[in-house]
């Protein structure tokens, strides 16, 4: 019934992403960009992509043509960056049919090229992004300097212009109070880890994003290999803590996690904060084999239950309470179908 394919290390890693920042050398950066400049960025970019072999598989969207909820839905599904909201007036995107490649235009930089894949596949996500990058770099108009590398609007991205990241589900590490040790360990590698949803030190759904801090002075491969290596280390740690929790008291662990499944299947009102907590438990349960649900299916469901996606599904702007009712109803319909008996 379900056609979900498990990606590498998906019990712990939700997805891998590589983003490249590029600018046209002769057009002012985002801070000084005029409407005409923005139009020229779009014209050149669309032309490069549409003339390429894979051009036909991309669809073009102007942010200004989309409702706020529609943009939010795309952000929630990791198709475009969060900042596209801020740059909605001039922003546009080319999105590949499988949604694994996105070329964002007129964000903080003229171009943000994104490769995105489920599970731990940083190297393949990088391949996707670099494949696209070659299209633009084949022409002579990309801002590059042999000393500074790829020139970016914000110098914190200069050099490779690359941000590689993985989203990890770390419930066992979090409940064992070991996240601060993880933060310190990855910092030594020039990497950073923080909650993916939520503000400050909060990490809703126990979801964390591991990414590189350094963009200059290291090669691209060096950077994404260190991300992948650090992710492997963290996931081994997470797995061993999950096993330990099971060995300590399996019934207690099963009881805690599966009660959340019950809540999600029966609730009539489901707030976003509670939902993320329950989703984390259900995902944990599925990874341990306590619940026969495909993990990619759970992740897809989680993204669909975010506020922008709910509003797009409902076809109207929703209030807080309407959202809670709708979220609970959709969960009752969809979650049991994911679980095989």
């Amino acid at each position: 019934m379900n056609e979900y394919v498990q990606a590498p290390q998906q019990d712990v890693v939700l997805s891998s992403r590589v983003r490249l920042a590029r600018n046209y050398a002769d057009i002012p950066f985002s801070g000084k960009l005029t409407k005409d400049d923005a139009q020229e960025v779009i014209r050149r970019t669309v032309q490069s992509v549409s003339q390429s072999e894979q051009g036909a598989s991309f669809s073009f969207l102007r942010m200004a043509d989309l409702s706020e909820d529609k943009r939010l839905e795309m952000i929630e599904h990791n198709i475009i960056s969060y900042d596209m909201h801020k740059y909605a007036a001039n922003g546009a995107a080319l999105i590949s049919s499988g949604q694994t490649i996105t070329v964002m235009m007129n964000e903080e930089d003229h171009l943000r090229i994104q490769g995105y894949l489920p599970g731990l596949q940083v190297d393949r996500a990088a391949e996707l992004a670099f494949g696209m990058d070659e299209l633009f770099c084949a022409k002579r108009d990309i801002a590059f300097d042999s000393r500074w590398g790829f020139l970016t609007s914000n110098p914190t991205n200069v050099g490779t212009g690359m941000r590689a990241s993985v989203i990890m589900h770390l419930p066992a590490l979090a409940s064992a109070g070991q996240m601060s040790a993880v933060v310190q360990a990855v910092a030594k590698l020039g990497l950073t880890i923080r909650g993916f949803y939520g503000e400050g030190s909060e990490a809703r759904g126990n979801l964390y994003q591991l990414s590189n801090q350094v963009t200059i002075g290291r090669s691209e491969e060096d950077i994404f290999h260190s991300i992948a290596a650090a992710a492997e280390q963290v996931l081994e740690h997470e797995r061993s803590l999950r096993e330990k929790a099971e060995k300590t008291d399996m019934f207690k662990l099963q009881d805690t996690l599966l009660r959340s499944y019950g809540e999600l299947c029966c609730a009539r009102l489901m707030g976003s904060r509670e939902f993320m907590r329950r989703y984390s438990d259900v995902r944990y349960a599925a990874s341990m084999g306590y619940l026969h649900a495909p993990i990619p299916g759970l992740d897809a469901l989680m993204m669909d239950m975010q506020s922008g996606s709910l509003a797009v599904g409902a076809g109207k702007i929703l209030g807080e309470r309407e959202r809670e009712i709708l979220r609970a109803r959709l969960l009752r319909e969809r979650l049991p179908k994911l679980v095989a008996d």
Partner: protein, 183 residues
């Protein structure tokens, strides 16, 4: 400009090294710069810039970075942005700003990222053949490292990429035989 090392090939690369606080700048050709990389056994060239700027930073000490009025007034002739604008917004105005503000930016990036020298990819269009060759050299070094660490899957991928780039070089050579494309 010819290569400072061999004097026979044109220099496409600029190498800056800092030893005991003394800066030496040299212009090298792709062949000589590749030799230079191999001369340092077991040394990861990709981190050279990082290590060097780490040394500079130590020398400078931990003085709080408050740009002087002269620096703040530097203006980019291309877009009109001043260094003060950059300090306020955190954003540069255009590609030329990197040239205009190169000194203060060098300091800033050295502190923030431990380096201000790019060691990664070079777009094919920038130096054509030279950049492909340099990319091949870089991948070969990684291949050596991968084999040493018995990462055979990675080594195979690197080998494929080297082959693809070598093929590109050959194609360029064939294409330019008829015409007169020269970098």
């Amino acid at each position: 400009m010819m290569c400072d090392e061999c004097g026979i090939r044109p220099a496409n690369f600029h190498l800056t090294t800092i030893t005991n606080g003394e800066k030496t700048e040299r212009n090298l050709c792709p062949v000589c710069i590749a030799k230079y990389q191999k001369k340092i056994p077991g040394f990861d060239f990709s981190n050279l810039a990082g290590i060097l700027s780490g040394l500079i930073e130590k020398k400078q000490g931990a003085k709080a970075e408050q740009a002087d009025p002269e620096t703040l007034a530097i203006t980019c002739t291309q877009c009109g942005a001043t260094y003060r604008d950059f300090q306020t917004s955190g954003k540069l105005g255009c590609a030329q700003c990197y040239k205009a503000f190169s000194k203060p930016l060098e300091n800033l990036l050295g502190k923030m990222q431990g380096s201000s020298q790019h060691v990664g990819r070079i777009p094919d269009s920038v130096a054509g053949e030279t950049s492909i060759r340099l990319n091949i050299d870089r991948l070969r070094m990684q291949l050596g490292k991968a084999v040493e660490e018995e990462e055979y899957e990675e080594a195979a991928q690197l080998r494929d990429r080297i082959r693809a780039l070598s093929k590109k070089l050959e194609e360029r050579a064939v294409a330019s035989e008829g015409g007169s494309e020269h970098e």
